[in-house]
Symmetry: C2
Subunit: 167 residues, 2 copies
Protein backbone atom coordinates (compact mmCIF):
# COMPACT_ATOMS: atom_id res chain seq x y z
CA UNK A 1 0.00 0.00 0.00
CA UNK A 2 2.77 2.37 0.94
CA UNK A 3 4.67 1.56 -2.22
CA UNK A 4 1.56 2.16 -4.28
CA UNK A 5 0.95 5.45 -2.55
CA UNK A 6 4.45 6.55 -3.39
CA UNK A 7 4.01 5.64 -7.02
CA UNK A 8 0.76 7.51 -7.11
CA UNK A 9 2.44 10.55 -5.64
CA UNK A 10 5.22 10.45 -8.16
CA UNK A 11 2.78 10.03 -10.98
CA UNK A 12 0.62 12.92 -9.83
CA UNK A 13 3.70 15.02 -9.42
CA UNK A 14 5.13 14.30 -12.83
CA UNK A 15 1.78 14.99 -14.38
CA UNK A 16 1.59 18.41 -12.85
CA UNK A 17 5.23 19.48 -12.74
CA UNK A 18 5.24 21.36 -16.02
CA UNK A 19 1.89 22.76 -14.98
CA UNK A 20 3.31 24.49 -11.95
CA UNK A 21 6.43 25.56 -13.81
CA UNK A 22 4.14 27.70 -15.92
CA UNK A 23 3.28 29.70 -12.83
CA UNK A 24 1.02 32.71 -12.59
CA UNK A 25 2.30 34.02 -15.93
CA UNK A 26 0.78 31.06 -17.74
CA UNK A 27 -2.23 30.93 -20.03
CA UNK A 28 -5.00 33.33 -19.23
CA UNK A 29 -7.73 31.10 -20.61
CA UNK A 30 -8.45 27.52 -19.65
CA UNK A 31 -8.38 24.33 -21.68
CA UNK A 32 -11.70 24.27 -23.51
CA UNK A 33 -13.04 26.43 -20.71
CA UNK A 34 -12.66 23.96 -17.87
CA UNK A 35 -14.59 25.81 -15.18
CA UNK A 36 -13.37 26.75 -11.74
CA UNK A 37 -14.88 24.24 -9.27
CA UNK A 38 -17.15 26.56 -7.33
CA UNK A 39 -18.11 25.09 -3.97
CA UNK A 40 -15.54 22.28 -4.05
CA UNK A 41 -14.81 22.77 -0.35
CA UNK A 42 -18.29 21.40 0.35
CA UNK A 43 -17.65 18.27 -1.72
CA UNK A 44 -16.73 14.95 -0.18
CA UNK A 45 -13.18 14.68 1.11
CA UNK A 46 -11.63 11.70 -0.70
CA UNK A 47 -8.16 11.43 0.88
CA UNK A 48 -5.11 13.47 1.92
CA UNK A 49 -1.31 13.26 1.76
CA UNK A 50 1.75 15.26 2.79
CA UNK A 51 4.86 15.71 0.60
CA UNK A 52 7.81 16.81 2.70
CA UNK A 53 11.22 18.42 2.15
CA UNK A 54 13.58 15.93 0.53
CA UNK A 55 10.89 14.38 -1.65
CA UNK A 56 11.77 14.51 -5.33
CA UNK A 57 8.59 16.45 -6.03
CA UNK A 58 8.78 18.80 -3.09
CA UNK A 59 9.56 21.77 -5.30
CA UNK A 60 6.30 21.45 -7.16
CA UNK A 61 4.09 19.58 -4.72
CA UNK A 62 5.49 20.15 -1.27
CA UNK A 63 2.76 20.59 1.28
CA UNK A 64 -0.44 18.90 2.31
CA UNK A 65 -2.99 18.10 -0.35
CA UNK A 66 -6.60 17.06 -0.12
CA UNK A 67 -8.72 15.52 -2.85
CA UNK A 68 -12.43 16.34 -3.08
CA UNK A 69 -15.07 14.85 -5.37
CA UNK A 70 -18.44 16.17 -6.46
CA UNK A 71 -21.38 13.72 -6.16
CA UNK A 72 -20.83 12.31 -9.66
CA UNK A 73 -17.15 11.76 -8.92
CA UNK A 74 -17.98 9.94 -5.68
CA UNK A 75 -20.08 7.55 -7.78
CA UNK A 76 -17.06 7.12 -10.02
CA UNK A 77 -14.76 6.27 -7.13
CA UNK A 78 -17.13 3.56 -5.94
CA UNK A 79 -17.94 2.16 -9.39
CA UNK A 80 -14.55 2.44 -11.04
CA UNK A 81 -15.90 4.44 -14.00
CA UNK A 82 -16.62 8.13 -13.72
CA UNK A 83 -19.83 9.51 -15.30
CA UNK A 84 -19.88 12.73 -17.28
CA UNK A 85 -20.04 15.65 -14.90
CA UNK A 86 -17.57 14.15 -12.46
CA UNK A 87 -15.17 16.72 -11.04
CA UNK A 88 -12.18 15.90 -8.84
CA UNK A 89 -10.39 18.76 -7.06
CA UNK A 90 -6.76 18.56 -5.93
CA UNK A 91 -6.25 21.17 -3.20
CA UNK A 92 -2.58 21.78 -2.36
CA UNK A 93 -1.78 23.83 0.75
CA UNK A 94 1.52 24.81 2.27
CA UNK A 95 2.41 22.60 5.24
CA UNK A 96 3.94 24.47 8.15
CA UNK A 97 6.15 22.10 10.16
CA UNK A 98 7.17 22.87 13.71
CA UNK A 99 7.06 21.46 17.21
CA UNK A 100 6.70 17.99 15.70
CA UNK A 101 3.40 18.86 14.07
CA UNK A 102 2.25 19.92 10.64
CA UNK A 103 -0.50 22.47 10.16
CA UNK A 104 -2.15 23.75 7.01
CA UNK A 105 -0.96 27.01 5.45
CA UNK A 106 -1.96 29.10 2.42
CA UNK A 107 -3.16 27.46 -0.78
CA UNK A 108 -0.44 26.78 -3.37
CA UNK A 109 -2.52 25.47 -6.25
CA UNK A 110 -5.96 24.07 -6.96
CA UNK A 111 -6.20 21.50 -9.76
CA UNK A 112 -9.22 19.79 -11.29
CA UNK A 113 -10.19 16.95 -13.58
CA UNK A 114 -13.60 17.31 -15.27
CA UNK A 115 -15.21 14.34 -17.05
CA UNK A 116 -16.94 14.87 -20.40
CA UNK A 117 -16.34 11.87 -22.61
CA UNK A 118 -17.12 13.62 -25.88
CA UNK A 119 -15.71 17.06 -25.24
CA UNK A 120 -12.42 15.77 -23.88
CA UNK A 121 -12.19 12.61 -25.97
CA UNK A 122 -8.56 13.33 -26.86
CA UNK A 123 -7.51 13.16 -23.20
CA UNK A 124 -9.37 10.12 -21.95
CA UNK A 125 -12.63 12.00 -21.48
CA UNK A 126 -11.11 14.33 -18.91
CA UNK A 127 -10.47 18.05 -19.05
CA UNK A 128 -7.70 19.42 -16.83
CA UNK A 129 -6.99 22.82 -15.34
CA UNK A 130 -5.33 24.32 -12.28
CA UNK A 131 -5.22 27.75 -10.68
CA UNK A 132 -2.23 29.27 -8.90
CA UNK A 133 -3.04 29.91 -5.23
CA UNK A 134 -6.53 28.66 -6.05
CA UNK A 135 -7.38 32.03 -7.60
CA UNK A 136 -9.93 31.79 -10.45
CA UNK A 137 -8.08 34.47 -12.42
CA UNK A 138 -4.82 32.51 -12.50
CA UNK A 139 -5.20 29.36 -14.63
CA UNK A 140 -1.87 27.64 -15.28
CA UNK A 141 -2.65 24.73 -17.60
CA UNK A 142 -4.71 25.86 -20.59
CA UNK A 143 -3.83 24.06 -23.80
CA UNK A 144 -0.83 22.33 -22.26
CA UNK A 145 -3.11 19.77 -20.56
CA UNK A 146 -2.22 16.84 -22.87
CA UNK A 147 1.47 16.98 -21.94
CA UNK A 148 1.21 18.67 -18.55
CA UNK A 149 -1.51 16.39 -17.19
CA UNK A 150 -2.85 13.61 -19.37
CA UNK A 151 0.42 11.97 -20.43
CA UNK A 152 0.97 10.75 -16.90
CA UNK A 153 -2.66 9.88 -16.22
CA UNK A 154 -2.56 7.36 -19.08
CA UNK A 155 -0.85 4.98 -16.64
CA UNK A 156 -4.15 4.85 -14.75
CA UNK A 157 -6.31 3.86 -17.70
CA UNK A 158 -7.71 0.88 -15.78
CA UNK A 159 -9.14 3.23 -13.15
CA UNK A 160 -10.53 5.67 -15.71
CA UNK A 161 -7.31 7.74 -15.59
CA UNK A 162 -7.74 8.58 -11.91
CA UNK A 163 -4.86 8.05 -9.44
CA UNK A 164 -6.65 8.58 -6.14
CA UNK A 165 -8.86 6.08 -4.34
CA UNK A 166 -11.70 6.86 -1.95
CA UNK A 167 -10.53 6.27 1.61
CA UNK B 1 -1.23 31.43 13.61
CA UNK B 2 1.26 28.67 14.07
CA UNK B 3 1.47 29.36 17.77
CA UNK B 4 -2.29 29.29 18.04
CA UNK B 5 -2.45 26.05 16.12
CA UNK B 6 0.00 24.48 18.53
CA UNK B 7 -2.01 25.59 21.51
CA UNK B 8 -5.12 24.20 19.92
CA UNK B 9 -3.40 20.90 19.35
CA UNK B 10 -2.23 20.68 22.90
CA UNK B 11 -5.66 21.55 24.19
CA UNK B 12 -7.36 18.98 22.04
CA UNK B 13 -4.82 16.43 23.10
CA UNK B 14 -5.18 17.06 26.78
CA UNK B 15 -8.91 16.91 26.46
CA UNK B 16 -8.82 13.50 24.92
CA UNK B 17 -5.80 11.92 26.56
CA UNK B 18 -7.66 10.21 29.35
CA UNK B 19 -10.25 9.27 26.80
CA UNK B 20 -7.81 7.22 24.79
CA UNK B 21 -6.21 5.78 27.88
CA UNK B 22 -9.52 4.09 28.51
CA UNK B 23 -9.01 2.08 25.35
CA UNK B 24 -11.26 -0.56 23.90
CA UNK B 25 -11.97 -1.95 27.36
CA UNK B 26 -13.75 1.25 28.34
CA UNK B 27 -17.44 1.89 28.84
CA UNK B 28 -19.73 -0.09 26.60
CA UNK B 29 -22.47 2.53 26.58
CA UNK B 30 -22.12 6.13 25.52
CA UNK B 31 -22.62 9.35 27.44
CA UNK B 32 -26.36 9.94 27.40
CA UNK B 33 -26.47 7.95 24.20
CA UNK B 34 -24.35 10.21 22.04
CA UNK B 35 -24.94 8.55 18.69
CA UNK B 36 -22.32 7.30 16.26
CA UNK B 37 -22.03 9.90 13.47
CA UNK B 38 -23.36 7.86 10.56
CA UNK B 39 -22.30 9.31 7.24
CA UNK B 40 -19.75 11.73 8.68
CA UNK B 41 -17.34 11.01 5.81
CA UNK B 42 -19.79 12.83 3.55
CA UNK B 43 -19.82 15.92 5.77
CA UNK B 44 -17.79 19.00 5.02
CA UNK B 45 -14.07 18.72 5.66
CA UNK B 46 -13.22 21.50 8.11
CA UNK B 47 -9.42 21.21 8.45
CA UNK B 48 -6.59 18.71 8.97
CA UNK B 49 -3.37 18.39 10.98
CA UNK B 50 -0.51 15.93 11.51
CA UNK B 51 1.00 15.12 14.92
CA UNK B 52 4.42 13.51 14.51
CA UNK B 53 6.83 11.46 16.61
CA UNK B 54 8.43 13.65 19.27
CA UNK B 55 5.29 15.67 19.88
CA UNK B 56 4.20 15.57 23.52
CA UNK B 57 0.85 14.14 22.50
CA UNK B 58 2.11 11.67 19.94
CA UNK B 59 1.27 8.72 22.15
CA UNK B 60 -2.40 9.58 22.19
CA UNK B 61 -2.83 11.63 19.04
CA UNK B 62 -0.02 10.73 16.72
CA UNK B 63 -1.15 10.56 13.13
CA UNK B 64 -3.15 12.66 10.73
CA UNK B 65 -6.54 13.93 11.81
CA UNK B 66 -9.38 15.46 9.88
CA UNK B 67 -12.33 17.39 11.26
CA UNK B 68 -15.74 17.13 9.60
CA UNK B 69 -18.92 19.08 10.34
CA UNK B 70 -22.55 18.30 9.56
CA UNK B 71 -24.57 21.13 7.96
CA UNK B 72 -25.62 22.58 11.31
CA UNK B 73 -22.02 22.56 12.52
CA UNK B 74 -20.86 24.35 9.36
CA UNK B 75 -23.36 27.10 10.24
CA UNK B 76 -21.81 27.18 13.68
CA UNK B 77 -18.28 27.58 12.34
CA UNK B 78 -19.33 30.55 10.23
CA UNK B 79 -21.54 32.18 12.89
CA UNK B 80 -19.48 31.47 15.98
CA UNK B 81 -22.38 29.82 17.82
CA UNK B 82 -23.40 26.25 17.08
CA UNK B 83 -27.12 25.44 16.80
CA UNK B 84 -28.62 22.32 18.39
CA UNK B 85 -28.01 19.37 16.13
CA UNK B 86 -24.45 20.40 15.28
CA UNK B 87 -22.07 17.45 15.14
CA UNK B 88 -18.30 17.75 14.74
CA UNK B 89 -16.31 14.60 13.97
CA UNK B 90 -12.60 14.22 14.79
CA UNK B 91 -11.20 11.46 12.57
CA UNK B 92 -7.71 10.31 13.61
CA UNK B 93 -5.78 8.03 11.24
CA UNK B 94 -2.34 6.54 11.51
CA UNK B 95 0.19 8.47 9.44
CA UNK B 96 2.69 6.30 7.59
CA UNK B 97 5.91 8.23 7.02
CA UNK B 98 8.44 7.19 4.40
CA UNK B 99 10.28 8.49 1.34
CA UNK B 100 9.71 12.03 2.60
CA UNK B 101 5.96 11.71 2.37
CA UNK B 102 3.12 10.94 4.77
CA UNK B 103 0.15 8.84 3.73
CA UNK B 104 -3.00 7.93 5.62
CA UNK B 105 -3.22 4.60 7.43
CA UNK B 106 -5.87 2.79 9.51
CA UNK B 107 -8.25 4.73 11.75
CA UNK B 108 -7.10 5.09 15.37
CA UNK B 109 -10.11 6.79 16.88
CA UNK B 110 -13.22 8.70 15.88
CA UNK B 111 -14.44 11.38 18.27
CA UNK B 112 -17.54 13.57 18.18
CA UNK B 113 -19.10 16.62 19.80
CA UNK B 114 -22.89 16.81 19.57
CA UNK B 115 -24.73 20.04 20.42
CA UNK B 116 -27.93 19.91 22.47
CA UNK B 117 -28.09 22.88 24.81
CA UNK B 118 -30.62 21.36 27.19
CA UNK B 119 -29.57 17.75 27.21
CA UNK B 120 -25.90 18.51 27.70
CA UNK B 121 -26.28 21.69 29.74
CA UNK B 122 -23.71 20.48 32.27
CA UNK B 123 -20.99 20.36 29.61
CA UNK B 124 -21.52 23.59 27.71
CA UNK B 125 -24.35 22.18 25.65
CA UNK B 126 -22.12 19.56 24.06
CA UNK B 127 -22.18 15.79 24.36
CA UNK B 128 -18.90 13.94 23.78
CA UNK B 129 -18.06 10.42 22.68
CA UNK B 130 -15.33 8.57 20.78
CA UNK B 131 -14.94 5.10 19.33
CA UNK B 132 -11.72 3.09 19.19
CA UNK B 133 -10.70 2.44 15.59
CA UNK B 134 -13.92 4.21 14.62
CA UNK B 135 -15.89 1.06 15.44
CA UNK B 136 -19.45 1.78 16.64
CA UNK B 137 -19.22 -1.06 19.16
CA UNK B 138 -16.18 0.41 20.92
CA UNK B 139 -17.10 3.66 22.70
CA UNK B 140 -14.32 4.90 24.98
CA UNK B 141 -15.73 7.99 26.71
CA UNK B 142 -19.11 7.30 28.27
CA UNK B 143 -19.70 9.09 31.54
CA UNK B 144 -16.10 10.30 31.72
CA UNK B 145 -16.85 13.08 29.23
CA UNK B 146 -16.81 15.94 31.79
CA UNK B 147 -13.20 15.24 32.81
CA UNK B 148 -12.00 13.49 29.68
CA UNK B 149 -13.33 16.07 27.23
CA UNK B 150 -15.14 19.09 28.57
CA UNK B 151 -12.64 20.29 31.15
CA UNK B 152 -10.24 21.27 28.41
CA UNK B 153 -12.90 22.62 26.07
CA UNK B 154 -13.85 25.21 28.68
CA UNK B 155 -10.82 27.20 27.50
CA UNK B 156 -12.71 27.74 24.23
CA UNK B 157 -15.88 29.15 25.77
CA UNK B 158 -15.72 32.22 23.52
CA UNK B 159 -15.99 30.01 20.44
CA UNK B 160 -18.78 27.90 21.90
CA UNK B 161 -16.27 25.38 23.31
CA UNK B 162 -14.93 24.46 19.86
CA UNK B 163 -11.18 24.48 19.16
CA UNK B 164 -11.18 24.09 15.39
CA UNK B 165 -11.82 26.82 12.83
CA UNK B 166 -13.20 26.35 9.33
CA UNK B 167 -10.34 26.64 6.83
Amino acid sequence: MKHTARNVTIAIGLAMTSLLATGADGPTRTMANVPYPEGYRQWQHIKSMVIQPGHALFGSFGGIHHLYGNPAAVQGYTRGRFPDGSVIAFDLLEAASGDNAIVEGPRKVLGVMVKDAKRFAATGGWGFEAWAAGEPGKPVVGNTAPSACFDCHTSQKDSDYVFSRLR
